[in-house]
């Protein structure tokens, strides 16, 4: 390696390290602050001490956070809602896209165009009609048929399962798959579902990872207005609504940081799980350009 190349590389790494710091520092700040009493937290925040575990360090904030709100329950709710939505979304969006791309049926271009068009509607415009709708839908459970979905898990799951974006991403990806593969599977005798399961999905890792990540972020981090509208029961609330518990009367910054640290753990676990697929997906979309 020549000197010039060494210098260039170190420059590059320095730059990348700087970028990484910009992303990591807020998390460091969050974790460190969660260990400090409110007063020290506020005074430290004006210096580099904000990023260091110094002064009066302890886990009091965590204890207080757990006693103020049913943190475990909120996390369970969010994880459950997110996981269910994610799996249903991956399945339904991909199978819908499969039909749009590989199966001939009358009017599919129009239907796809309508679906894609719905993407421009912001959630706020449909929130109220959606509320009226879910309030009148039937549900079948062990108690028989009940009407109205308010205060339930399904009201937080079903409306979010599919949005145009997921279908669109799968459609785009499937269109780039070689058609011959699907056709030769047909000639070989595979049913549409067998083609979906044994040929198309095994080749769709990058788009599955992409959709999974987008859906995870949407469901785990961003469910706030809708749950407030449709869920009054504390036992069904997700994490973001739980955050409100810490803003009553005087804001408990230390506890908020502790709460945020706890609810970040599932995000990290999810990322680690998907990391390889995520990088592959970024790389492949990069190549496709």
């Amino acid at each position: 390696m020549t000197l010039e190349r060494k210098v260039r590389l170190s420059g590059l790494y320095l730059f990348l390290g700087f970028i990484a710091c910009i992303f990591v520092l807020p998390i460091v700040f969050m974790v460190m602050s969660s260990l400090k009493p409110d007063l020290q937290l506020l005074s430290d925040s004006s210096s580099m001490r904000a990023f260091l575990p110094v002064g009066d360090i302890g886990v009091d904030n965590y204890r207080d956070a757990f006693s103020r709100a049913p943190v475990g329950l909120f996390i369970f709710n969010s994880v459950f809602i997110t996981a269910t939505t994610l799996l249903l979304s991956l399945f339904l969006a991909s199978i819908a896209a499969f039909s749009f791309v590989f199966i001939e049926w009358r009017g599919k271009a129009v239907v796809l165009a309508i679906i894609i068009a719905t993407y421009i509607l912001p959630f706020e415009t449909v929130a109220v009609p959606l509320l009226l709708l879910v309030n009148n839908l039937p549900w079948l459970s062990t108690e028989g048929v009940t009407w109205g979905w308010l205060n339930s898990y399904q009201v937080q799951i079903v409306p979010w399962i599919i949005r145009a974006l997921e279908i669109f991403l799968f459609v785009q990806y499937f269109r780039d798959l070689p058609r011959d593969l699907v056709e030769s599977a047909r000639v070989e005798g595979a049913s549409w579902f067998q083609i979906y399961r044994r040929v198309v999905m095994p080749l769709s890792g990058p788009v599955i990872a992409t959709v999974a990540i987008l859906k995870f972020l949407e469901m785990y981090n961003n469910q706030f207005i809708w749950p407030i509208m449709v869920v009054q029961e504390e036992g069904l609330r997700p994490i973001m609504v739980g955050l409100l518990y810490f803003f009553q009367l005087n804001t408990a910054w230390g506890e908020i940081m502790a709460y945020l640290t706890i609810i970040t753990v599932p995000v990290l676990a999810f990322y680690l799980m998907l990391q390889r697929a995520f990088i592959a997906s970024i790389a492949s979309t990069g190549v496709k350009g």
Partner: protein, 356 residues
């Protein structure tokens, strides 16, 4: 095994008709080659037979049964694609076994059939590889293996050799011919390469713009082309065409004249020709001979010679300024600018009613 009948088959994409009333009769066990220039509808015709496209009108029968509305898997066919279309996420073994496992065949039987196909195609040692670890020719053989294990009644090949290099193309062509003589299954093979068509086919179907120009045994098409298109398409170098005028007609000969040539008679039955009409004379380059100076009907100067080893291809500009190509013996020594006289056996000249 099965014969195939196509009757008045038509296919439209939107308003464009790409298959325009095709009738073809394929006997059980026959090796049929569809040949024609790019875009003439060969692949479309094959895909109609496979059931990958719906037909617009007409009828397809396989083994006597109308299959118009049947799914590909119900037609008893196997297909080898130009791109091979083997599954990149499966091993060679899984690829070959795909059709069998889909049908949930007994595992023992599947293993045995895969082993048999692998032996036949000499790829036993490749079974656990992934397609990305194979060469083009090996991928091709995986695709063929996947087709033969299912023991279909008809094989369809869409330009299976076009992605291979010249040497591999020749050896794979021979393997496919051997495969046919071994399996004796009906095969339909699409190509735009007339050499593949001539060497492989029991029957050639020449297509142009979605219509059958002529169908028949290779040598029949070569010796008795029904029209200018077939005459020009089969054989290399292409047949020479010269515009002529019919001067006189009698029972067995037609006397013709043209600026390029001295008037003479060709032995063609006079039916269909009338004196005074325009026609086209066709002569294969291989039929042309050097004649002593000034004695042949065709006189001109050499513009280009290509020595191929087995023969020498000579382009001659006739005095009428038409260019004519002659395939002469390999020891012919000619240089650009040399004056030559060419003659030919009149029994082997072709006379077409069409004009250029």
């Amino acid at each position: 095994m099965a014969g195939i009948q196509l009757s008045n088959l038509r296919k439209q994409f939107g308003t464009v008709e790409v298959i325009r009333g095709v009738d073809i009769d394929i006997r059980d066990g026959e090796f049929v080659v569809f040949v024609g220039p790019s875009g003439c509808g060969k692949s479309t015709l094959l895909r109609l037979i496979a059931g990958l496209e719906d037909i617009t009108s007409g009828e397809i029968r396989i083994d006597g049964r109308v299959v118009n509305d049947l799914e590909p898997k119900e037609r008893g066919i196997a297909m080898v694609f130009q791109s091979y279309a083997i599954f990149p996420h499966m091993t060679v073994r899984e690829n070959i076994a795909f059709g069998l496992t889909i049908r949930r065949e007994n595992r023992k039987a599947v293993e045995q059939k895969v082993a048999e196909a692998a032996r036949m195609l000499q790829m036993e040692n490749l079974l656990d590889r992934r397609p990305s670890q194979l060469s083009g020719g090996q991928r091709q053989r995986v695709a063929i293996g996947r087709a033969i294990v299912r023991d279909p009644s008809v094989f369809l090949f869409d330009e299976p050799l076009s992605n291979l290099d010249a040497a591999l193309r020749m050896s794979t062509r021979q393997e496919i011919a051997a495969l046919h003589s071994q399996l004796k299954t009906t095969m339909i093979y699409v190509t735009h390469d007339q050499v593949e068509a001539m060497t492989l086919a029991d029957k050639i179907v020449v297509l142009r713009d979605g219509e059958v120009m002529q169908a028949g045994e290779p040598m029949h098409l070569y010796h008795q082309p029904a029209n200018l298109f077939v005459a020009g398409f089969l054989g290399a170098p292409s047949m020479n065409f010269i515009s002529v005028t019919v001067a006189a007609v009698d029972a067995s000969t037609v006397r013709i004249s043209a600026p390029a040539i001295d008037g003479f008679a060709v032995e063609k039955s006079g039916h269909g020709f009338t004196a005074g009409q325009q026609a086209t004379l066709g002569i294969r380059p291989q039929q042309l001979r050097l004649a002593p100076k000034g004695t042949g009907p065709l006189n001109g100067r050499v513009v280009l010679t290509e020595r191929l080893g087995s023969e020498t291809i000579v382009d001659v500009r006739l005095n009428s300024s038409d260019i004519i190509v002659a395939a002469l013996p390999e020891d012919t020594i000619l240089h650009p600018g040399d004056a030559v006289s060419l003659g030919f056996d009149r029994a082997h000249a072709h006379l077409f009613e069409e004009t250029l």
